[in-house]
């Protein structure tokens, strides 16, 4: 099972490396959205500092949604998904591997580049840690929840719009808590509570979402 897991993650990373434009699109989208805000809002440092966590979080959420459609689509189209369903490894484990790979490809780069982007908002260096940590905990939750939606809408026409409608309500709590972490830290309350909540959500999503997505895939492929 571990061999299958590793093999699948490596395969997805290799495929992403050979088709890097898909990955860059998401990252570029994130960078552009975040960079447009200081230009649009104006150069008031106080205001920028206040909106920074929210802007980074909203942009990360949208970027992650942009990439969702591709989690299973390619494997579905070329028949690999059927093989995964008939494999020796439980489908839930396979979905977990795919989501992890998907996060490494589309989520982790966002987390890594966000400190640089936060500079545009004159974001306090002391609070940067909290913001990055909240994104590092939050973006995998987005990928996990999104995988359920992607599995449910697999193979449908106009799946993109439906997918957004499906996952958005589930994304909102993550956004509120995630952006709230840096806000709370800025106001001197400390963001520990929010970070712990995010951690708990990540664990719950990590345990249940792959199986829910696996069940949804079985229905979609029928």
């Amino acid at each position: 099972m571990i061999a299958a897991l590793r093999c699948l993650i490596l395969r997805d990373l290799r495929l992403a490396a050979r088709r890097s434009s898909d990955v860059l699109t998401v990252l570029l989208f994130f960078v552009i959205v975040v960079s447009l805000f200081p230009l649009g809002v104006g150069p008031d440092p106080k205001l920028l500092r206040t909106v920074a966590p929210g802007v980074l979080w909203v942009a990360a959420l949208l970027a992650s949604m942009l990439a969702l459609g591709r989690v299973f689509a390619a494997d579905h189209a070329d028949g690999t998904l059927e093989q995964m369903m008939l494999g020796a490894t439980p489908l839930g484990v396979i979905v977990a591997a795919k989501v992890l790979a998907h996060w490494l490809i589309t989520g982790l780069p966002l987390v890594l580049i966000s400190p640089v982007l936060a500079l545009q908002f004159d974001f306090s260096q002391d609070l940067l840690g909290v913001l990055i940590l909240s994104l590092a905990l939050g973006t995998p939750i987005l990928s996990l929840i999104g995988a359920i939606g992607a599995a449910l809408t697999l193979g449908l026409r106009g799946a993109g719009a439906l997918l957004s409608l499906l996952v958005l309500p589930l994304y909102v709590p993550v956004l509120i808590i995630g952006a709230g972490a840096a806000d709370a830290a800025a106001s001197g309350l400390g963001g520990t509570a929010q970070l712990l909540l995010l951690g708990a959500m990540l664990i719950v999503a990590g345990v249940f979402a792959p199986w829910a997505a696996a069940a949804a895939l079985r229905i979609s492929v029928e």
């Binding site: 299958a4 093999c7 699948l8 290799r14 390619a74 008939l86 020796a88």
Partner: protein, 210 residues
């Protein structure tokens, strides 16, 4: 070598149409069962039901007396399914594709065995090219190379294995199927290719189509 696959009173409905009903068959080690019938008669649906990808409207498929939908992975490690789609990644080479496919199927194969399997299907010298540049027939060969690694898997389910293959490759694949049946494996397949594989235990079920 194994416990048999039993299909009991299967009924398949796609959309409004009943494709077949009351279909029962048993497949034991050494059997080579061909599903015939015109386009749209439900051959692929039947194979997908036999694999557990599709749930029948009524009836049940059993492996060793137990429903395959309950056995799940326990049944799927004993199954090698090659569908219409080749399940190949365009950006990876045939070797990489076959390596991933065998790992997913739970087949342990080292690099040498993978390379040999591809040579056996006539892909010598093209193993390391991205699948994107291969022709349709060569892709099909790369997909079918899994058969050469799947000797220990008791049940093969092949959906139109001979599509796009040339005469030489068809002979190769038939030889693999013959070998599997003579080892005591079972093969369930569909084809429009009228050729006698020439194995003892060959049978045929024709779906009427409706």
């Amino acid at each position: 070598m194994q416990t048999p696959l039993e299909a009991i009173d299967l009924r398949c409905v796609r959309g409004e149409r009943t494709l077949f009903e009351g279909l029962s068959f048993t497949l034991e080690g050494g059997d080579l069962l061909r599903i015939g019938g015109p386009n749209g008669s439900g051959k692929t649906s039947l194979l997908r039901i036999a694999c557990g990808l599709l749930e029948p409207e009524s009836g049940e498929v059993r492996w060793g007396g137990e429903s395959i939908l309950r056995l799940k992975e326990e049944f799927w490690v004993r199954l090698l399914y090659i569908g219409h789609a080749n399940a190949l990644k365009d950006d990876m080479s045939a070797v990489e594709n076959l390596g991933v496919a065998s790992t997913l199927a739970g087949i342990v194969a080292d690099g040498r065995q993978v390379a040999e399997a591809l040579v056996r299907l006539g892909l010598a010298g093209r193993e390391n090219l991205p699948v994107r540049v291969l022709s349709q027939g060569q892709r099909r060969r790369a997909a079918l190379a899994r058969l050469a690694l799947g000797a220990a898997v008791p049940l093969w389910v092949l959906d139109e294995p001979f599509t796009a293959l040339d005469a030489k490759a068809v002979e190769n694949v038939q030889e693999l199927m013959r070998g599997h049946v003579s080892r005591g494996g079972a093969v369930l397949y569909t084809t429009h290719h009228e050729a006698d594989i020439g194995a003892a235990g060959s049978r045929r079920i024709d779906l009427a189509g409706g």
